[in-house]
């Protein structure tokens, strides 16, 4: 059982206690807050997705590097740079496409034609009667 599994077991056990009023949990505000925090942390650790695994392996590699007291080599840097450039290219293509779609779906503003007011004609003065 590794550390993460041990923590998960402990979290689940503690979540049972803190959620159960009969065991002294649930009645205290602080314990209730702790319960939701534990749920969140448990969820975070339980995911164990690919990125998390990769991050842990990379952390182990950095630790080995630190123990050996060596600096990363140019080749190690270049590998990371190539991987970053490849991922960045995918992300920027997707961004450009999404932004273009976004622009297409934007409804153009309704242009109301200018109101043309009829020319104001001055009232003609009354014509005096002719004698």
């Amino acid at each position: 059982m590794n550390l993460l599994q041990l923590v998960l077991v402990a979290i689940r056990g503690l979540a049972v206690v803190t959620n159960n009023p009969a065991l002294g949990g649930g009645s205290s505000v602080r314990l209730e807050q702790a319960s939701s925090l534990l749920d969140l942390l448990g969820e975070l650790l339980e995911r164990g997705d690919e990125a998390h695994t990769e991050l842990k392996e990379f952390a182990d590699m950095v630790e080995r590097m630190a123990k050996e007291g060596r600096a990363p080599t140019p080749a190690e840097w270049q590998t990371l740079k190539d991987r970053s450039d490849a991922a960045h290219s995918i992300l920027q293509d997707a961004l450009a496409e999404a932004e273009a779609e976004e622009e297409e779906t934007v409804v153009p503003p309704v242009v109301t034609p200018p109101v043309v007011e009829p020319p104001v004609t001055e009232p003609t003065p009354p014509v005096p009667p002719t004698e």
Partner: protein, 139 residues
């Protein structure tokens, strides 16, 4: 009895929190690095892993457009800073080698080290933003 259980639960909680923090540090490459070059490498490597995760998510075609835009924009902001961090590291490596070879140029060496530390500090919040965008898209 209930008080005892509560005190025990609180003690266990503290113990678990310590274990959780230790577990989180275990998967944090930056926390494992000692020197400024190792920190820079750990920071850049963390960025690359998250960037690749983001690219996989975006390529899956199951993300809403808003999430693709949020991830793309976060990457757009982080990438130049991460690349500057890489350039600063390469520059630092050369200056460090010269300093170690002949013991001259201490000021230049210190300035390069401070500059590299500065790039590490600048990159970290941008990487955190990218992580937030990826986590937000995954949910």
């Amino acid at each position: 009895m209930i008080l005892q259980v509560r005190q025990t639960a609180q003690a266990v909680f503290l113990l678990v929190m310590m274990l959780v923090l230790q577990a989180c540090a275990a998967s944090n490459p930056i926390a494992r690095a000692d020197t400024v070059e190792q920190k820079a490498y750990a920071t850049y490597g963390t960025f690359v892993i998250i960037e690749e995760q983001a690219a996989k998510l975006v390529s899956s075609g199951r993300l809403p457009r808003s999430a693709v835009i949020a991830i793309g924009q976060a990457d757009e902001r982080a990438k130049p800073v991460a690349d500057s961090l890489l350039d600063a590291t390469l520059e630092f490596t050369v200056i460090k080698a010269e300093y170690e070879a002949n013991g001259e140029g201490q000021d230049r060496f210190v300035a390069a080290m401070n500059g590299l530390n500065g790039w590490v500090s600048r990159a970290q919040p941008l990487i955190a933003n990218l992580i937030s965008a990826v986590k937000g898209a995954e949910q």
